[in-house]
């Protein structure tokens, strides 16, 4: 008697990954670590999109195309955020979000 992975299993997995990412995003101090948690959350959303597409709308492709756009937007967001973080670190010497108060020195 085996339990085949159904849609609900995939979605529960995606929710669990998202929760872990949310936990990390709320507790990390370093801005780079927060971006990494954000990636975890985005990745779980993409996983849920692909799972829904594959189970609920087998003959359509819209979920996969949405997932592609999410991946592209995530890449853009990370590039800009990391460039900003490196610039801020050069200016202020810290990336601790609890200590950063302003963007100008």
């Amino acid at each position: 008697m085996m339990i085949r992975p159904e849609l609900a299993h995939w979605l529960i997995l995606a929710i669990a990954l998202f929760s872990i990412g949310l936990f990390g995003f709320l507790t990390q101090k370093s801005a780079i670590r927060m971006i990494m948690s954000l990636e975890l959350m985005l990745n779980s959303v993409v996983l849920s999109l692909v799972a829904l597409n594959s189970f609920q709308a087998t003959e359509r492709l819209d979920g996969k195309i949405f997932a592609l756009f999410v991946i592209a937007a995530a890449a853009a967001e990370v590039v800009l955020a990391l460039a900003l973080f490196v610039a801020i670190y050069k200016q202020q010497g810290t990336l601790d979000v609890t200590e950063m108060r302003e963007l100008k020195e």
Partner: protein, 179 residues
């Protein structure tokens, strides 16, 4: 034959799911930043395997190219440029609050999933599985389709977004190095 295929699929799903959750916990809990980045890379690679199991080879490839080949390398560069290799442990109150919020979110969403109509209907719904070779071709045609179901406008918008981000990153990087 069909039986053993289902068995392998189930074993792969639960094994990968457990590994993925473990590595995700590593991303948020390990204090050494490089190890956390490696954990993140493992989570993303396992997600690519999930996409293969769900029958979309193109997304698996894009995931490996964009996330593992691009984003993880960028994060490694940022860590090395800033030279922060270990993080200090966040305060207990912060950990407790984060845990509370995350657990509440998990329980709430699981409850919403349990109550939703398609959770009931999904029993016996057959999964698509590995499609024929035409998936990449279909996605390409849909992205370039100018009809009412096509995605040409979002496709062009994301191109403009990527171009703007490219220019923005160069400008920010140059300004910080010249000053």
């Amino acid at each position: 034959m069909e039986e053993s295929k289902a068995l392998v699929e189930t074993l792969f799903f639960y094994g990968f799911a457990a590994l993925s959750l473990l590595f995700a916990l590593g991303v948020v809990l390990i204090r050494r930043v490089m190890w956390a980045v490696l954990s993140l890379m493992s989570v993303l690679l396992i997600s690519a395997a999930f996409y293969l199991m769900l029958g979309s080879e193109f997304l698996a490839g894009a995931q490996v190219l964009v996330y593992v080949g691009g984003i993880v390398v960028l994060i490694v560069f940022a860590v090395m440029l800033t030279g922060i290799h270990t993080d200090e442990r966040p305060s207990f109150l912060k950990l407790f609050n984060g845990f509370l919020v995350a657990t509440t979110f998990f329980i709430w969403s699981s409850w919403a999933l349990w109550e939703s109509p398609f959770f009931r209907n999904s029993n016996g719904m057959e999964q698509g599985g590995l499609s024929e070779v035409g998936e990449v071709r279909e996605i390409g045609l849909r992205l370039m389709d100018m009809g009412s179901t096509g995605y040409i406008l979002p496709f062009e918008l994301i191109s403009i977004l990527l171009l703007a981000v490219l220019i923005g990153a160069i400008v920010i990087g140059r300004r910080s190095s010249s000053s």
